[in-house]
Assembly symmetry: C2
Homo-oligomer: 155 residues x 2
DNA sequence: TCTGAAAATGAGGCGGC
DNA sequence: GCCGCCTCATTTTCAGA
């Protein structure tokens, strides 16, 4: 759809660093004027390279301090069964990520929630009602050593 | 540090939706004028509620189409051993997330990389050199059914 | 903490190269 | 595809309540 050159990738890197960096500052950094920077960002957005510009919130400060990863194994692996599970899992607002996986289980869920008590309730009332589940195994995050959404910024 | 009220949380919700939403639009939505919106956002940033405003990039379009989750078990669980592992793991740029976990393994890594060939090389040259690893097990993402960073937006 | 307004900065569009 | 200019919108600061 759009074939980004080195300048485009540099712009992506800068916007990963700061999604509100001004076009002027970007232009100075990539050694172009504001106009091409502007049009390149438009193209990068329209073509889907930039999925979204968003504020990343600290979950601990807003009562979502507990993160769980849950592995799910289904009873049957028909297309219908897989699609049903996905349709229900993604509706749960505490389920932030849901992946269909290779290997010994079928799905991996990232769940963020207030605390263990709230998790208990989520488990009883929502997770346990997900369709066609054969087995679920949950691991909790003790500490976050790294969380990075930026692909272009070297650590 | 800072105790956000309902208006602050509403502002967070809007900035999760669109990190570049103008203060004017935010002000209209939360029924305040621009000045308090401005000062609230400053406070939310300084106090760490907003970790960062960033562009989320589509990894598939920039040659990072393969995502792996790797579970790591260490040989020894001394503080030194844990810290050593973390220090080395977070240096690897393909390791986007690294968590210390409860349960039958110690760490969970999220790895994004070009393709399986590149993963093979990463495994041989970097992952296999991580210190004090007893066991590693990797699962690959077949498809992403949900990826959400916004805590306040109901699905 | 809020309102309203002024000053500074940025965005987005146009003609020309 | 780039530059410089122009106009409008937005951000940011300030006085005052």
């Amino acid at each position: 759809m759009y074939n980004p050159d080195r300048t485009d990738l540099e712009i992506l890197r800068l916007l990963e660093q700061d999604g509100r960096m001004s076009h002027k500052v970007i232009a100075q950094t990539v050694h172009k004027s504001i106009t091409p920077v502007h049009s390149r960002i438009s193209k990068l957005e329209k073509s889907g390279f930039i999925r979204k510009i968003t504020a990343l919130i600290n979950p601990k400060l807003i009562g979502r301090g507990l993160t769980a990863y849950t592995q799910v194994l289904l009873k049957v692996h028909s297309q219908e069964s897989l699609e049903n599970f996905i349709a229900e899992a993604v509706k749960i607002k505490e389920v932030m990520e849901c992946y269909h996986m290779t290997g010994t289980f079928d799905f991996l869920l990232r769940i963020t929630i207030r605390d263990m008590e709230a998790y208990n309730e989520l488990l009883l009332k929502q997770l346990s009602n997900l369709p066609a589940v054969a087995q679920m195994q949950t691991f909790f995050v003790i500490s976050e050593a790294k969380y990075e959404t930026a692909y272009f910024n070297t650590v």
